[in-house]
Subunit: 203 residues, 2 copies
């Protein structure tokens, strides 16, 4: 008989090569994007033949979704940990989150970069799934910004979008060896009109 259907056997006892395969896919998607990454590239990077990939994943899109999910998971973990150990000052909590966000985005593995490199529009069949996961993450920043003590005329939504956009865009100009990510995050936060704790302009 042929190989069993991959999706029916997801949590088997082993699947040893699943993780190296995901790593290879993440590296490929990060470097070349989704459409320019071929299954042959990915398989070769993982040390197997193209057909063998289909034992672990049902399709190229499923591979992308798995990488994307892992990327979101890693960013969430890093940011959540940073927030948790940042005390209670809303500004300090936001700063910690931004540092962690940029750290995992610029330094660490390929997974996180795939999240901002591959657009949902690139994978129509799974676009809503990717977008939903990303939104779930950004929800954290919604809460962080909501806790800030801001001048009443400032729009918190646009503050969040400005900040996240500015951080994410760093991938276009950042180069290792220059400013460390944490310093970049601090410098950008310093550009924003966010009063320090107990420094409200309307006391």
């Amino acid at each position: 008989m042929a190989t069993p259907p991959a999706h029916a056997r997801a949590r088997s006892r082993q699947d040893n090569r699943r993780q190296p395969l995901l790593d290879a896919a993440a590296a490929c998607f990060r470097a070349r994007g989704f459409h320019a990454s071929s299954m042959r590239h990915i398989a070769r990077a993982a040390g197997m033949l193209p057909g063998s990939v289909y034992y672990h994943f049902d399709s190229k899109e499923a591979l992308l979704v798995a990488v994307h999910d892992e990327g979101v998971r890693r960013i969430c973990a890093a940011v959540d940990a940073a927030i948790a150990s940042a005390g209670h000052d809303p500004r300090a909590r936001l700063a910690a989150a931004c540092r962690a966000h940029l750290d995992v985005l610029l330094d660490e593995s390929d997974y996180a970069q795939v999240v901002i490199r591959v657009l949902p529009e690139d994978v129509p069949a799974a676009a809503s799934e990717l977008a939903a996961h990303r939104d779930g993450y950004e929800q954290r920043f919604r809460h962080l910004v909501a806790a800030l003590d801001l001048p009443p005329e400032m729009d918190r939504g646009h503050l969040r979008r400005l900040l996240l956009g500015g951080l994410n865009w760093a991938r276009h100009w950042y180069q290792p060896g220059g400013d460390p990510p944490a310093h970049i995050a601090d410098a950008m936060l310093a550009c924003l009109r966010i009063p320090a704790a107990g420094d409200g302009s309307t006391p």
Copy 2:
């Protein structure tokens, strides 16, 4: 004889279909990105056969470069005009530039969106050319930020990168019918610690 070499005849008397072809390519590149846009897609959108495209452009990459250049040209024109009619206050000049930048990026034609949708890395052969054109544009913002009266501890480089990143990222969440681009630009600028004219904190 066959068709003449396209690059040898660039500035002919007509070339009527060059512009519609560029338009179709811009729409395709914007919607699907570079690698997912095929010459057959583009040709069909322009109402011709795939082979006919090569009378006007030497390759798919040349088509992309032409679209990209036109995109940069349009953004530059819009922003330059906005700056020129914005008076002398540095903050007002930056605000005008941001409004124009976002206007042309979100509302107007596909050309401008291609500039931020297609990454130089997607087209290795022309990557440096694309990057150079984009840098030439961003130089304008370097000057605008340099003219601002800022607290000495603020990093102007990171202020520029935060602002441009935040604006460019708008393409991921903007939807027509919501906030108009000019309003978004104003709201984001209002989040930044930029003193109004004659309001320096170190008088």
